[in-house]
């Protein structure tokens, strides 16, 4: 019955890995890491997850630095890479000289930055002006003394909408007109009510009440679930409850499709055209909406600006673990990959949207349009959303508190499983417990 056992093996790996990894990681990776090859050549290991699109950028970097050889280890999905990285960092060896950190992961490390080199000591201070302020600040410890990551891609945020459904409901379909009609969230809700009142469409206005939360709070507050001392303030930050109520009110008014993001029902809702709008980061357009909606809906989607103007969802960083033997060279690599050239190469290769301001203004990115989304100028729309975004302090456990606590509870309230107040109380209690 080895197959049945394998089930737990994933989780038992949890426990076993604690022993095995600590025992073996020390010897497994050591030999090929940090070695200095013949002729004084330095070998760097770069570890990334998913697809950062760095193949060409690394070649260019090696050409410019003949004394450095880069081994790019692609570690698969974030969820596979993350636990390994945690172990390698704890064990003191095994991690690459430069590692990719997803935004949520990075925020977790900002609170415990010891395992990473301070990029400010390596000369990163001069790069500050290259990035949007919030992107830079996210990788900075709260005291402002240590920087652990340089920004790679960003998500940006726009409002994807179904042109065909808008037309059926008698709403404007032109993206500039639509953007104008939903320049604030109040307008957006009003337009949704008009959409529904037309009585000509079966679809809901928005996929889920929870979709409102991230963009709305980030536009209207300087903090989210945590204050700058990383204390949980989700219960006292008035904007969060305000957004919660706004979203659930939309659900009550029948404006949301009440589907849970990333579920089979969400997929089905795309195919069945069950909602007309969806706040979407750049990576979601071609990467999620297009494949989930299918070729049959090509040209029916379009992209307007997000109500409120700016926003971001997702993105990553490159960091240099403190265990590296070549911090200088590692920093050079991270610096190059997060420069304009590196960003644009990654954009070309993997569609990753630059977080480098010059990169956002470069025609290679700025003039990008999307055929699936009715030829929408994605480069321009998403670029502006990133530049318009205000810096928001998220805190180390933001992702955890949002994705595993507040979002599910809000969905439960949306589906009517719990009352709004009961769900709120549960979320707050749970978050307090998780962050104490």
């Amino acid at each position: 019955m080895s197959v049945m056992r394998r089930r737990l093996r994933i989780a038992a790996a949890a426990v076993l890995a604690a022993g095995v990894a600590l025992g073996s990681a020390g010897c497994s990776k050591k030999d090929d890491e940090g070695s200095t090859g013949e002729g004084g050549q330095v070998k760097l290991v770069l570890q990334t997850f998913q697809n950062f699109g760095y193949d060409q950028a690394i070649k260019d970097f090696e050409a410019a630095h003949p004394n450095i050889k880069v081994e790019h280890q692609k570690m698969g999905e974030l969820r596979d890479f993350q636990p390994k990285l945690v172990q390698w960092l704890a064990a003191g060896s095994g991690a690459g000289d430069v590692v990719g950190l997803e935004e949520g992961v990075l925020l977790g490390y900002v609170q415990n930055p010891d395992k990473f080199a301070n990029l400010l000591d390596l000369g990163a201070g001069e790069l500050k002006a290259n990035f949007p302020e919030w992107k830079w600040n996210n990788a900075m410890t709260p005291d402002g003394k240590k920087l652990i990551g340089l920004g790679t891609d960003v998500g940006g945020l726009a409002m994807c909408y179904r042109k065909d459904l808008f037309q059926q409901a008698g709403l404007p379909t032109d993206r500039d007109e639509v953007s104008k009609r939903m320049s604030t969230w109040q307008d957006y809700v009003a337009l949704g009510k008009q959409f529904k009142a037309s009585g000509k469409v079966k679809a809901a206005w928005l996929d889920s009440a929870t979709s409102l939360m991230q963009p709305y709070v980030m536009q209207n507050s300087e903090t989210f679930f945590f204050d700058k001392d990383n204390k949980f303030i989700g219960d006292t930050n008035p904007v969060i409850r305000q957004t919660w109520d706004l979203g659930l009110q939309m659900a009550k008014d029948g404006l949301t499709a009440k589907t849970q993001r990333w579920s089979a029902d969400w997929d089905g809702a795309f195919k069945n055209s069950a909602f007309a709008t969806l706040p979407c980061p750049a990576w979601m357009t071609e990467g999620v909406i297009a494949p989930k909606s299918g070729p049959a809906n090509s040209g029916k989607w379009d992209i307007a600006t997000i109500p409120g103007g700016g926003g971001n969802w997702g993105g990553s960083y490159l960091a240099v673990p403190a265990q590296t033997k070549h911090p200088k060279e590692a920093y050079e690599l991270a610096k190059y990959l997060t420069s304009k050239e590196g960003h644009l190469a990654a954009f070309k290769e993997a569609g990753a949207m630059p977080s480098d301001i010059a990169g956002l203004d470069d025609p290679a990115f700025k003039d990008k349009t999307s055929e699936y989304f009715s030829g929408a100028p994605t480069g321009k729309i998403f670029g502006e959303s990133v530049k318009n975004m205000k810096p928001v302090f998220l805190g180390a456990k933001h992702q955890q508190v949002w994705e595993t606590i507040f979002e599910p509870q809000m969905q439960a309230a949306e589906r009517g499983r719990l009352s709004s107040d009961a769900a709120w109380k549960k979320a707050v209690d749970e978050a307090k417990k998780a962050t104490s």
Binding site: R7, A12, V15, D114, S263, T404, R415, R417, L418
Partner: protein
């Protein structure tokens, strides 16, 4: 064998006294060692590997469980039994234990009963017998993840096959995830779909070892097939039933992938953790958030103990209820 070879060394011949008998004696000793120790050597690879990858991690887990050990923050302080004390009061852990037990009962009981019936049917003379016998294990060779994805679609809340079917005959859709019992049922269904055939095949193997004349004389005495099944088949394959019960207990308590896939890949197991199993909770604590290895290790140990206890309870229960040949 070695004793006959070297037991009676011939008396040394007159001239070259030394080398031959010495050689003999050595081969005699080697032969004895060979006989005595080589069996251990042959099984050693298993035990060495088991020691390195099985025993050591298990014992190390005990050690780690005594620490306040968080990988993310790098804390590692001796905490004694503190983790276990916290665990006793951790409502989410006991909720996970409750779910695991519930899903286990809901899946294993029907699974083994159906498997038994299925094996009994397959044990008869019929056409395409081999094909049918092999057919029942096909679900078992599909990947768990694939099974999870497909069943998550079938049991999807809004666009799922079952809710659609219910809708066509006028029933309300079932909240497959929000309702605790419904979620348990769906997960148990997945497990059974995969494992019933496998257990049936094991039972079938045991049934084929039962001498046919027992059935013949039973039918001569006028026993119905049903009676024969309960008084001949079941008692005679009792050891096999015990085996499957133990194995199912071990597997059932570690259930992880099915509920994970069912909950859209979230380790939370539903809004209220209504289908979060122990393995999922261990994963949540150990690999997400603060990576609390110490606490995760303590939970793993407790799970280990629970599996042993439940396996024993099941063993006793089944042995009592299924009467074998009395001695």
């Amino acid at each position: 064998m070695s004793s006959t070879v070297g037991a009676v060394p011939p008396p040394p011949a007159a001239s070259p006294p030394s080398s031959a008998p010495l050689h003999r004696r050595r081969s005699y000793r080697l032969g004895r060692w060979d006989l005595k120790y080589s069996p251990y050597l042959y099984v050693a690879p298993f035990f060495v590997l088991f020691g390195v990858f099985g025993l050591f991690p298990v014992l190390y887990t005990v050690y780690v469980s005594l620490f306040d050990y968080e990988l993310l923050s790098g804390t590692k302080e001796f905490a004694g039994l503190e983790n276990y004390r916290v665990l006793m009061q951790d409502a989410q852990f006991w909720n996970a234990a409750y779910n695991t037990l519930g899903i286990f009962v809901l899946s294993t009981v029907p699974q083994l009963i159906v498997a038994l019936m299925l094996a009994n049917l397959l044990n008869r003379q019929m056409k395409a017998r081999t094909l049918l016998r092999m057919g029942v294990v096909i679900p078992n060779i599909t990947s768990v993840a694939a099974v999870g994805i497909i069943f998550a679609l079938i049991f999807a809340d809004r666009y799922g096959l079952i809710n659609w079917l219910l809708g066509t005959v006028g029933f309300d859709p079932i909240a497959w995830r929000d309702n605790r019992f419904a979620s348990w049922f769906a997960i148990a269904f997945m497990v059974d779909w995969r494992w019933t055939g496998y257990n049936a095949l094991i039972y079938l193997g045991a049934m084929q070892a039962i001498p046919k004349d027992l059935y013949e004389s039973a039918s001569l005495d006028g026993a119905s097939t049903w009676r024969q099944f309960w008084t001949i088949t079941v008692p005679l394959i009792r050891p096999t039933i015990l085996f499957t019960v133990i194995i199912s207990t071990i597997g059932g308590f570690q259930i992880f992938t099915e509920p994970l896939m069912y909950g859209n890949g979230l380790v939370r197991g539903g809004v209220d953790h209504q289908f979060q199993t122990l393995a999922m909770y261990i994963y949540e604590k150990t690999f997400t958030g603060n990576s609390e290895y110490g606490y995760g290790s303590a939970m793993s140990w407790l799970l280990f103990m629970m599996i042993i206890i439940f396996a024993l309870i099941n063993f006793v229960l089944v042995r009592r209820s299924v009467k074998g040949d009395k001695k």
